[in-house]
């Protein structure tokens, strides 16, 4: 099928996390008289701290008797996803239900604590084993045993596939069509395109070459093409970007004003390439093909390099929510801030190559349930230890009926 006839579905953000199922833990709970509250908290903190269950409140008012407190003595092992607990969540918490517990199941220190503080009604209660990710989860889970709501460190995660806005959709469709076209013309089923979202101009593209080289999947080939373009535009030794090449001095001598004023507004002067006109022209040629969006945002190639204009633009870019930090003018660090369009969902090797290349977004068309690493089978972008992460979008194809 030729790429012009393709109809796309709405693009969706592929979440990096899925909703956590409720896991419960069995808690040994006992009731104590109200008046020992403070002493009890201290004694419990010393005798049996619960570092794994910080999200649970240690003590609650007994739901059926105002003169009693109920406190968690200790946890008795992870229950997994328990049927009993799930029904407990859906129905009203049944206070009258007793799962009595013999005192001698507890560690010795807790046994003495229990008797010293006048404990009674020792029983088993289910509580959520993990902190909830969202407010909705908190509302259900807290019915088991009260939970302190705390927004997760990285903010409340997106857990469902969210559609993109109209403008992004157009941008996605345009470039995905190019990628499909490239695959079609190269007689393979996969191709990748790396795009600078500032200027909406393709930086590098490649079709799958795995018939020639077993590791030259489309993404790997495109990443390589991007690095070759980088080397061609900013050759080693000539550029001001290499901290060891020494022409940082040149940049300062040639445009001292530019450096000065950009520092004033607090943006690190990124005036690479100014000192060297030849690569700049080459770059202009490369970007020239596609400049519909350029007028508004990114391209600085054809205009006068007035310092004020440049500074204003950069400021605007910095405040924009989705814009990457590097302006179109500066040399990128590998693929920082770029978008990668790929026809088929990348395998784990390609997905990791995109992490190494520090792309900003990955957009794919066809999910792969067997080897896809970005939502199809695995979810690499959920991996927190990586030194970089990107957003993943799926732009499905509408099947002809």
């Amino acid at each position: 099928m030729a790429a012009e006839d393709v109809v796309f579905e709405m693009g969706v953000l592929v979440p990096s996390q899925t909703e956590l199922p409720l896991r419960t833990v069995l808690l040994a709970v006992a009731a104590f008289p109200n008046k020992v509250g403070n002493l009890l908290m201290k004694a419990l903190g010393a005798a049996a701290p619960l570092p794994e269950l910080k999200h649970l409140k240690r003590v609650r008012k007994a739901p059926d008797d105002g003169s009693l407190l109920e406190a968690i003595l200790c946890a008795l092992g992870d229950e997994g996803v328990s049927e009993a607990a799930l029904t407990a969540v859906t129905t009203e918490p049944d206070v009258a239900r007793m799962d009595p517990l013999e005192l001698d199941h507890l560690p010795a220190s807790l046994q003495t604590l229990y008797t010293q503080h006048g404990g009674q009604r020792l029983r088993l209660v289910h509580g959520a084993a993990l902190a909830p990710q969202t407010r909705q989860q908190w509302e259900t889970w807290t019915k088991l045993w009260p939970i302190t709501w705390r927004i997760p460190d990285n903010g409340t995660p997106v857990l469902v596939e969210t559609p993109v806005d109209e403008y992004t959709q157009q941008y996605f469709e345009r470039h995905m069509r190019t990628a499909l076209q490239l695959a079609y013309l190269s007689c393979v089923d996969n191709a990748a395109l790396i795009v600078d979202p500032d200027s909406a101009a393709p930086v590098a593209k490649a079709a799958d070459r795995s018939a020639v080289h077993p590791l030259q999947h489309a993404v790997m080939a495109a990443v390589q093409a991007a690095s070759e373009r980088d080397l061609a535009l900013w050759p080693p030794g000539l550029t001001s970007v290499d901290p060891y090449s020494g022409s940082g001095v040149d940049a300062m001598n040639v445009t001292p004003d530019a450096n000065g004023s950009s520092e004033e507004i607090g943006t690190q002067g990124q005036s690479h390439g100014e000192s060297n006109s030849a690569p700049d022209e080459l770059r202009r040629e490369l970007n020239g093909g596609d400049s519909r969006i350029d007028a508004g945002t990114g391209s600085t190639g054809d205009e006068d390099d007035t310092v004020e204009g440049l500074a204003c633009k950069r400021q605007r870019l910095d405040t924009g929510p989705q814009e990457p930090q590097a302006s179109a003018r500066s040399r990128p660090y590998m693929c920082t801030g770029y978008d990668c369009f790929v026809v088929r969902e990348p395998c784990i090797m390609c997905a990791m190559a995109l992490v190494h290349s520090r792309v900003q977004r990955v957009i794919y068309c066809e999910p792969d349930a067997t080897f896809g690493a970005l939502g199809g089978c695995r979810r690499l972008h959920a991996c927190k230890s990586l030194n970089h992460s990107y957003q993943v979008y799926r732009l499905g194809l509408k099947r002809e009926t």
């Binding site: 077993p214 060891y244 005036s271 784990i348 190494h356 080897f371």
Partner: protein
């Protein structure tokens, strides 16, 4: 004008000539000598250079490896991998090196080249694989990865583990683990799960979902030490340090 200290790699930087070079102070008894502050367009980079560049494992660490049950072959090949990492160090690349052994012969070697190629995927393993393919006119069958063992100083990353799985490597030995993006168990067990293809078309000489046995811990301390020394200076080509590089008083 320039820093006179022999291991100071900062010499070619023109900007340094405008700064007073702190190496002239005679505090040479420290392992880390001094902090060169080099300002360039992307911000400030702190360069710290060790007075003693890393070297091959000494007698003590070799005998320690022997007591850990490594054979002379393992030790010999891993020393060659470390030699590759030292070469990477010398050209200011992340110090990771590897050798590929087939039928008792070293048939490929490589070290990290991400800074020079400006391509974040040019890891030691990828360089060695490309070298082997080039030596066999690009033929995967002739390169015969199924009979190859890889010795690499640092656990292969998730991407490289995927590549090794696609090519069907026989065995992987590594030095230290990689707790940020290790693909042989540290972060993801690609050595069990394997990697697949990105295309539906069948590819000659490429496996899908094939795992490979891997074993780590040979000269782990040496590999870690090299990385630590390297990152103490901050990767010179990274845009700006992700974590603050400690300044010296």
């Amino acid at each position: 004008m320039f820093c006179p200290f022999p291991t100071c790699f900062a010499q070619p930087c023109g900007r340094l000539s405008q700064l007073a070079c702190p190496c002239l102070t005679n505090s040479h008894e420290f392992v880390i000598i001094k902090c060169h502050k080099i300002e360039h367009n992307r911000g400030i980079i702190n360069l710290r250079m060790s007075s003693a560049p890393p070297s091959l494992p000494d007698i003590a660490s070799i005998s320690r490896a022997r007591t850990q049950g490594w054979t002379e072959q393992h030790i010999g090949y891993m020393c060659q991998a470390i030699a590759q990492a030292l070469e990477a160090w010398a050209c200011r690349e992340v110090p990771v090196g590897c050798v590929v052994v087939r039928d008792g012969k070293v048939v490929g070697r490589g070290h990290n080249l991400t800074n020079k190629t400006r391509n974040g995927t040019r890891h030691a393993e990828m360089i060695a694989i490309d070298q082997m393919l080039a030596a066999n006119n690009g033929s995967v069958q002739e390169a015969n990865f199924e009979r190859c063992d890889l010795y690499v100083t640092v656990e292969p990353c998730i991407m490289c583990a995927g590549a090794l799985s696609l090519l069907g490597f026989r065995q992987v030995y590594f030095g230290c683990g990689n707790d940020r993006f290790g693909g042989c168990g540290s972060i993801l067990p690609i050595n069990f799960e394997g990697c697949g293809s990105c295309t539906r078309q069948p590819i000659v000489g490429s496996y899908a979902g094939r795992g490979f046995p891997s074993k780590g811990g040979l000269f782990a301390e040496e590999a870690v030490e090299m990385l630590r020394e390297f990152y103490a200076a901050g990767n010179p080509c990274a845009p700006r340090p992700h974590r603050p590089v400690p300044r010296e008083a």
